[in-house]
Subunit: 355 residues, 2 copies
């Protein structure tokens, strides 16, 4: 077994993979593969129903919100959000906390005016901008809850006077938050929820239907709500594996329990980075992510041999994103704390060897 | 084992399912699941490259065409096609041969004028309209190559003076055709190519870039081409299983060989429908589909007991679409001729019992 610190598609629970593999051959003993049954079959309808129910239960989604499983990743949401929420003559407010945030706001410009109310671009996004005022005349306020590339995270969500929209692709289901504070939440599945191929959208029904623009069916949240995520054939396998992963999360004690584990994992790793003189952190301490732990080496010449040692010890996926360099250990829900300890051991072993 | 005549998501080859299940646990013995590796890893890049190569090889795609694996199903293509090809002041020509064709043209109306040059709606789409002229001043001409619901198929493609666009969701890879006759071809994977969750698009590069409209990145074929189907995280699993299915098709002798098998399967089944006095066909003989064989019963009271007998004999997915009624046997590439014989046996057994 490898220790998988990949940034995404990321690690999934071993028992989920085992069950998913079984369903690919024969789903629940019905004599057919999950891949070759109708999405209108009783079997798949039960899967989708359970997936939606688990999302509602685990995140305590209040009444008045719809839960959707769509396709196209968060990048499609970058367009669908303004297409559905931003009037052509209106404006939307964006917090620019990283490359994904800046990609999101770029897509919004196809539909209306964009007000970037704060950015940390000048520091290569090493912190979350904090001094800003959310304009009350904007249609919505968009944030990215966790910045995978830089390892920063919004630990407290702002109070927004207008509907708040969040890209939670890399930290959904990793910690508690209040869904009622948001107008819309979206997340690509492939970090904390399941495999690549489906995108979770949680939308407050009452914020829809306020733009004049005519929206093609597949891009329209209203059509997708009316179709119950089955306006057309949904990504059956990705939804099934997401359902299994959410079941696993529930069996672990839910979001509150996993949040404690996640805190323990990130604390252990940051403690080692701060302690070990060969390594140094890259982000503002108060904004350190509990999902993606970024660090570099004091001596850049140590990076290659350290990566080699990681590889020898079965630690994979720790190479940093090219725009930050160094290392990034993604410690999503499914990564056991034993893997974090394995990485810490290698950091200490490397220190010993390089005294 | 069941005989799976489901209309889609449909049957996949047994060995493909077995290999897919193995990869869900451990891909090629690398110690990681296919579901938890980076889409930028060497392993997945090899998968995507091979999938694209197999499409080009099996369909003999000429130079000047791009092959894409996207998300969102054919229904998303209903919008992307006009968004990318139909100028706001222009018009597009559509052949209305069924519900899917009519859904496609409905989406085109969001982007420009639509000219429905022929329809068989008045007869509940029991034939393919044939007497029409393709307007030379339209941006493109859209057809649906096979109509899953009604069991009709275009056996000869028209010669089009303007770029021809085809929804081939339910018969791609089932028979030979000349890609060079088309400007754009799209197909949801879940009938003849793989599981639900990815959509094949084959587009002639030179027809792009001719509309003034600004197109958000994910909806823009140009962005997807430049990103090599990886502008964002692709649907890794669906592409992998499609690749395996295309490998299987190649090992069977390719499109020409499977087309012969498909003809043998459909011929056997239509022969029995025509012969057996209890059953009757629903479509024009010359337009009968080799993929979806639709039939009803002379005595509607026989339908329930026949369905029950099918179920007892392990024959599943034969219930007709609600808009046609009766029965629909989908006999996609992966369905062995032995399954067709099993269905014919049940039809004859039912005839015996109801003499």
């Amino acid at each position: 077994m490898k220790h998988n610190f990949g940034a995404g598609p990321g690690i999934l629970p071993h028992e989920v993979l085992k069950q998913a593999a079984e369903a690919v051959v024969d789903l629940n003993g019905i004599g057919l593969s999950l891949l070759e049954i109708s999405h209108r079959s009783a079997e798949f309808e039960a899967v989708l129903d359970e997936a939606v129910k688990l999302v509602k239960e685990l995140l305590e989604v209040p009444e008045g919100y719809s839960v959707l499983f769509l396709q196209g990743g968060a990048s499609t949401q970058f367009a669908m959000v303004p297409q559905n929420l931003l009037p052509s003559t209106g404006k939307a407010a964006y917090l620019d906390s990283g490359v994904w945030a800046s990609k999101a706001l770029k897509e919004a410009k196809y539909f209306g005016e964009v007000d970037v109310i704060a950015t940390s671009k000048e520091s290569n996004y090493t912190y979350i901008p904090k001094d800003y005022t959310i304009p009350t005349d904007a249609a919505y306020f968009h944030i990215t809850s966790n910045n995978t590339i830089y390892g920063t995270q919004l630990h407290e969500f702002p109070k927004s006077p207008i509907p708040m929209v969040a890209d939670m692709s890399s930290d959904i289901f990793s910690r508690k938050f209040n869904v009622a504070d948001f107008g819309l939440i979206y997340a690509g599945a492939q970090k904390n929820m399941g495999p690549a191929g489906t995108t979770l959208v949680i939308v407050k029904d009452e914020i829809l239907g306020k733009v004049d623009r005519k929206i093609p069916s597949m891009y329209n949240y209203q059509t997708q709500i009316e179709g119950g995520s089955m306006y057309n054939t949904p990504p059956v396998f990705a939804i099934y594996v997401s359902m299994l992963t959410l079941r696993w999360l529930k069996s672990k004690g839910g979001v509150e329990a996993i949040a404690q584990e996640n805190k323990a994992k990130s604390k252990a790793l940051y403690t080692e980075i701060d302690r070990n003189p060969l390594f140094k952190p890259v982000c503002a301490v108060e904004d350190r992510s509990d999902m993606n732990v970024c660090f570099v080496m004091e001596n850049p010449e140590h990076e290659k041999p350290f990566l080699k040692l990681c590889d020898e010890r079965g630690i994979v996926g720790v190479k940093g994103h090219r725009s930050v360099g160094g290392f990034r250990a993604s410690i999503y829900n499914a990564l056991p704390i034993t893997s974090v300890h394995a990485l810490i051991d290698v950091m200490q072993e490397f220190q010993e060897k390089n005294k």
